[in-house]
Subunit: 526 residues, 2 copies
């Protein structure tokens, strides 16, 4: 059918009121709100994670935990509270974290005589307790008890837990005072083994991000100034958000022997001598959900990669007519049941028959904003004739501004549901990778070039961020590195990481004028 | 084969140094230590949950979460911190909890000038934050935002979280300052619907305890004096430990409209009028693990019911001879792989091939103490002849004091592994039920009778606790109830609950002399 050139296609009416191009930061908040993922709690810096947001976190936990266990790492649980003195043992670590932590000083409340409650002065703790910002210190104490001989190594532990870092400026999922994460902590006989574990965790995060989150990342080593406090080396995965900024989405640290020395993690080696362990730690958090939003979201809300979608298919009965009500619900229920017996991405398909009362179009747009991968709308006539009407969330619109529903027979849909789900997972990854690659620029080898490239205004309506610069540098250390960091800071830039496996670059370092020795990514970041 | 009467069977040499009969409290601690389930953390009142203990908790979470989700309840996550003012809103609730809570008063540390750290006086919080002892108040605030109309009801939420109640005397799993739990919170249009949810959760806990934990429990209503602070009615499941004491293993509360009023949870009903919601809350915690230990443990350590065992079968290769080493490991690995493909109790069999270095007998006893349901020992000759040697943890000993290993062909074992696992689950439940029923006494209908029955010394070596008394009472309230509570307290007794479905008893109430109107259990308790 040829289009009538006289009729101009209607513009698309997107589901959100803000757009990514218009105001990326406001768009991000609107997605979280419109998809009912999380909200402010009324408690400073802490959020309430609502069922759709928490369901995504449960999927992340499920898939990541399987990878952690497959590597022989065992889950444990360590105390929420860490005595102040544990921190004092690790001076370098304290410097990095001491500034902003929640401090418990009392263990009882009493009436203040005015109808209120106050901390009981009689119940002041002898030693304040810190709400864990991370657990190296308290886990180190346990490792010192558990490790005696080389036979006890490697010791591979992990915990899923909440942690608190008092933050002045918070943003949901990306930076909150309380957040949820997993923290792996391991002890090894030597540097070689510990470094292998550090890189194993990094690769686990890289492949998880690409495969489960459909989020392309660069795995590499952070520069010295960005190391975890007390670490000998820190590695990260870095993802590019749709505004071109970088998001550090996971870190893995080789801690050397510093933490082992502070906590006393010794072992008797095969020669019968005492030796210090080499330790590692690695973690990802609810921040990943922020990365998913800013990687896959569009102007209609979230798009959830099927692998981490709490529901992959939602079936919406169009309950218009009371006559056909029972038959329609029975048809939808049978469809749900048939789909739930199928597998996609190696697991049973997660499908919801949403028969709550309410207008079908309202329900449709609620699910569009939540980003469920496939939406089925079934009317009475569909049920009678064995049809379904389906739309892929990643291909929501026709060119003419209409929602891109396709009609097909029930059998056709049952035959292709799993492959559609798997194709959506692939497509989201391909789309994000293509966009990321298009926003990495190479060939800038002077400071002036860097300044010119990043001179565009930030956060201005319609202004696209310029993405990342891939460049060589001479890997300066100490004061020379500090000078580089200051220059970059004045441009609101940071070095993200040195990608693993990148070859030695040509040319000179734009910061020092010396020969470049390795590749780095420079970018604005969250 | 007839036994030679001249040869006296060797006494059984149990794996633990303490026995249940000798010192039940010390035995409990030894099981936890010997099974490597948990240990003191060095942080007051907080424990470290080690992999075997945490693995049991993960199994409990997995099975309970499926039941919670099947009931239409959605998981969320709410803040760890609760502003002090939230507690002040619920006066009755505060009275119950205000006494012992962890209070955060500062958000920063600074150097004290003497090489140490102190809370920064400049960073004192305007309003102290309480580490949640339970989340009714903060979840109530969210419900007030989420509930607008009758269409939003029922609102069914749950969270898996850590909570803190400052405890003076702690005991691992049973009473710790920090513990892990799930807390369900629901809002309903009326009392009928809220009470139905309260009882649904109670029945979920009852069936879970019986089926997953193999732990018989009595589900019933707590007396007025044992209600959750602010609740209109509190229900519990009560389990009997091997020392005859009761353990409250889970609670479900009908909260009436009190919490809804404090938090402002209103809705517009079908008639267009504003009405208050009726709310419920219900929870189980890591305390369940203490119940499992004291229900199923024996003088050789823990016995884990297969449904919650992190591993159901452990295969131990007897690595004596280097010649047969490779063939033996290959045989064991094939066995593991074949077992892992089978199902027992509706899930794939969890089987570990423990090929760590170490003496086979040491490894066997470590697994006996951990309570893995089935242990296989495989020697080189077994591998060569296609045999296995297997022992059930719940039938560990022969009468002659030898470990009860059976030899059978590999095929025989593969054919019966699943049914053995299921039989162990059933047997543990039957054994615990029989013991519990034998320790419930009836027919005591005077206070003197009660005193006489419980007059035996407690905690004395060799002294068995007398279990529970099932009796009628007149259900006094107010001051009359307080008098009963005091009398019972002097006997170190409490009323556990009024079992659901018990008929109206005959006779008089031993406390008030009035006609008995309902049945109660009276017992010593944890």
């Amino acid at each position: 059918m040829t289009q009538n050139p006289q009729i101009k296609p209607a513009p698309i009416k997107h589901a959100l009121t803000t757009t990514r191009a218009g105001d990326f930061a406001a768009w991000y908040q609107e997605v979280i709100s419109a998809a009912e993922m999380a909200e402010e709690s009324g408690v400073r810096g802490c959020m309430v994670i609502r069922p759709w947001g928490y369901g995504i976190w449960e999927r992340i936990q499920h898939l990541m935990d399987a990878r952690i266990k497959a590597a022989g790492v065992e889950n444990c649980y360590f105390p929420l509270f860490i005595p102040l003195s544990y921190f004092a043992k690790e001076a370098e670590h304290v410097d990095g974290f001491a500034k902003e932590m929640a401090v418990v000083t009392h263990h009882r409340l009493i009436a203040d005589g005015k109808g209120g409650l106050v901390p009981d002065p009689e119940a002041k703790l002898e030693e304040p307790l810190i709400v864990r910002p991370t657990s190296e210190t308290v886990i180190g104490q346990a490792m010192a008890r558990w490790v005696q001989s080389w036979r006890d190594l490697p010791l591979l532990t992990n915990q899923w837990a909440n942690v608190v870092r008092w933050e002045m400026r918070t943003r949901m999922f990306l930076r909150t005072s309380e957040f949820l994460w997993q923290e792996g902590h391991t002890a090894h006989a030597d540097r070689t083994d510990a470094m292998a574990e550090t890189l194993r965790a990094l690769e686990m995060y890289r492949s998880f991000s690409e495969e489960a989150l459909a989020m392309p990342v660069v795995a590499g080593e952070k520069p010295e100034n960005e190391r975890f406090p007390g670490a000998a080396a820190t590695y990260s995965i870095e993802a590019m958000m749709q505004d071109g900024k970088a998001l550090q989405a996971g870190t893995s640290h080789y801690l050397g022997t510093g933490f082992a020395e502070a906590a006393g993690i010794h072992y008797q080696n095969k020669e019968g001598q005492q030796a210090l362990c080499h330790t590692t730690s690695w973690g990802v958090s609810t921040r990943l959900i922020g990365g998913v939003i800013m990687t896959h979201g569009d102007d209609d809300g979230l798009r959830v990669p099927p692998a981490i979608a709490p529901q992959q298919i939602v079936i919406l009965p169009m309950l218009r007519d009371t006559d056909e009500y029972e038959a329609l619900l029975a048809y939808c229920e049978e469809l749900r049941s048939s789909l739930a017996k199928q597998q996609a991405l190696g697991e049973p398909i997660r499908v919801l028959h949403d028969k709550r009362p309410g207008k079908a179009t309202q329900k449709r747009w609620a699910w569009v904003k939540k980003g469920v991968p496939l939406i089925l709308e079934i009317g009475g006539r569909d049920a009678a004739s064995g049809q379904v009407s389906v739309v892929r969330r990643d291909r929501l619109w026709q060119d003419n501004g209409k929602v891109n529903f396709s009609a097909m027979s029930r059998e056709d849909f049952l035959g292709r549901a799993a492959s559609e789900i798997e194709d959506i997972q692939r497509s989201l990854h391909a789309e994000a990778t293509e966009r990321r690659d298009a926003q990495i620029v190479r060939g800038i080898d002077t400071l002036d070039g860097l300044k010119a490239y990043f001179s565009g205004d930030e956060d201005k309506a319609g202004q696209k961020y310029p993405g990342w610069v891939e460049m060589g540098w001479s890997r300066p250390t100490g004061a020379a590195l500090e000078a580089v960091v200051e220059v970059l800071k004045s441009l609101k830039l940071t070095i993200r990481n040195t990608p693993l496996g990148a070859g030695k670059p040509e040319g000179l370092c734009p910061f020092t004028g010396e020969a470049a020795v390795e590749t780095i990514y420079v970018a604005r970041s969250y």
